[in-house]
Subunit: 330 residues, 2 copies
């Protein structure tokens, strides 16, 4: 598999240098692998820190900025960052109002953020944590005990980020983040396998003419393989899987998320089918976002995330955000 890289060993460092050049509004510490909004710490404001393996861009580094994350820690590709990165990030952004760690539910991330929380508290930084585990496809998988964290991470980071930006205290920001995770569910499909720079060949074998339903964002196995399905059939399957678990009574935010290599033209067409299913099931749609936000390198496919919202959450969703990957209202 051909890649636009130098050598696998420098992929993350090279990308951080490229981010630094493109985004003077961020402080990118290439050596220590921490991306921080330039004006941090913001006096009186709760800070949000997230992170995880690289390869899911723009998540998380592309979501650093006013109205969303205060800092992000990128690990190696598909590998958790280390506690020292998280501690450094927390120290850089804490204004004294405390720090919320947003942690996708993968074993490495959970352990390392736990350790970083202890270290940070030893240094007098108040830490709260929220675990994102929205993927209904499987319980327990290759890297996870329980459900995986996927597309809902964007909703948690945006909405809790808005609450923090308007000055809500740590316990409220944490409660909002927890509420968003509990109100969100995701389901993804893969049309092709993912290739990591280190391995250089696809991480699993997906034969021509088949797709994998319920895939994660690291190429870990899903629920089942089937003969290739149409956009219409995939939307039926994915949205039903989400609705069965979520059973929303309120309007929903919709994220139709590309895994990386699926053209935007196809994602918009898939969105039309997702909206059709939601309409048939009587689910009202408050807002829709279509694009590549929580990706898996060069994997083809898509995921659907729904988050049921009340008026207060919708207000926070609509609040201004200014990051490389998500931007509106400012």
């Amino acid at each position: 598999m051909k890649m636009l890289i130098n050598v696998p060993e420098t992929v993350v460092a090279d990308a951080l240098r490229g981010m630094a050049a493109a985004h003077p509004e961020l402080t990118v510490d290439v050596d220590n692998r921490v991306i921080v909004r330039r004006d941090a710490p913001v006096a009186g404001k709760v800070a949000l820190v997230s992170g995880g393996g690289s390869g899911h861009e723009p998540l998380h580094g592309g979501f650093v900025g006013p109205g969303m994350l205060s800092a992000a820690c990128p690990g190696e590709v598909f590998t958790s960052p280390v506690p020292d990165q998280m501690l450094r990030a927390a120290a850089a952004v804490d204004s004294g109002a405390g720090v919320l760690f947003i942690v996708k539910n993968y074993t490495g991330d959970v352990l390392n953020f736990d350790m970083a929380a202890e270290l940070a508290e030893d240094e007098g930084i108040q830490i709260a944590k929220v675990l994102v585990n929205d993927d209904v496809a499987v319980t327990d998988s290759l890297y996870t005990a329980g459900r995986r964290g996927t597309g809902a991470t964007l909703f948690v980071e945006k909405i809790a980020g808005a609450a923090a930006e308007e000055g809500q205290p740590l316990e409220r920001v944490e409660a909002v983040a927890r509420q968003i995770n509990e109100s969100s569910r995701s389901f993804g499909v893969a049309l092709s396998a993912v290739t990591t720079p280190a391995k250089g060949s696809p991480t699993f074998d997906l034969p021509p003419g088949e797709l994998e339903l319920g895939i994660g964002i690291h190429g870990e196995p899903g629920r089942e393989r089937r003969a290739m399905m149409t956009s219409r059939e995939i939307a039926d399957f994915a949205v039903h899987a989400v609705l069965e678990d979520l059973q929303p009574r309120n309007p929903v935010l919709v994220l139709v998320n590309g895994m990386g290599a699926t053209p935007l033209l196809e994602l918009y067409g898939f969105n039309a089918e997702v909206q059709r299913v939601l309409g048939e099931r009587g689910v009202a749609v408050a807002r829709t976002l279509v694009g590549n936000y929580v990706t898996s390198l060069d994997m083809a496919g898509a995921s659907v995330t729904l988050c049921q919202v009340d008026e207060e959450v919708l207000r926070l969703w609509d609040a201004p955000v200014r990051t490389p990957g998500l931007r509106w209202g400012v």
Copy 2:
């Protein structure tokens, strides 16, 4: 090749239905294939209309909105829209201040926009046209006499769009658009071929271990094939090709554009190398944009576009824009 579609015949219509659902701020006429900003026509404002084959999203439909295009006409995949679409778009957005057609230099687009201009003028709409032909890789190619129009289209649409938004008259907006095209050059590389829905298999054969230098955005041939190169080597080749032709004396805008299937992680790493070459050549960088903006469906690869700017152009670049694909300052 697996795709997230229903049938090839409905790919464009399906995508337009999905755009309509995701973007209530746009008026999407699915039957007639015209995407219009909802508040058009804007009294006293020059309107900008572009369009071209589908498969390059977010170009052009994703660039409709305040500060950029007034309307866009998507054709079938890699196929020019028809004059009737362009006429309909012009009629929908003309406030009496005239309409600028922004035309990428492909034979079909040029002929059809010419015909639409005649039809529109017959209906009393004042039309100006600007041709975008920034690709230095080849003169004449599969679909083009002269140079192809690629990444500079984004610069023309954004900067002329800002001039129109602040009320500049048609002759000024046209002059700005022409200046931006003349100040811009691009060069692209492909690491994989592109597969159209209608064909279902790659449009050309690119062996493992080779890349194509100077590729267009439809899989048309480039300058040459070589054994796979590193990000550093590709940046040297592409930036030198652009600089040789442009010889900028002013600072430049940089667009590091993904062709569709290359991960954002790799695009940022490639940007680091592009910035290195520019630094070595003493070219000052005013702004940098990294992402998938002028794509070629599922092709892997990237292009570099440089546009030399003066203070006035930079002011227009920084002016507010609110479209699905490009958004800042509002």
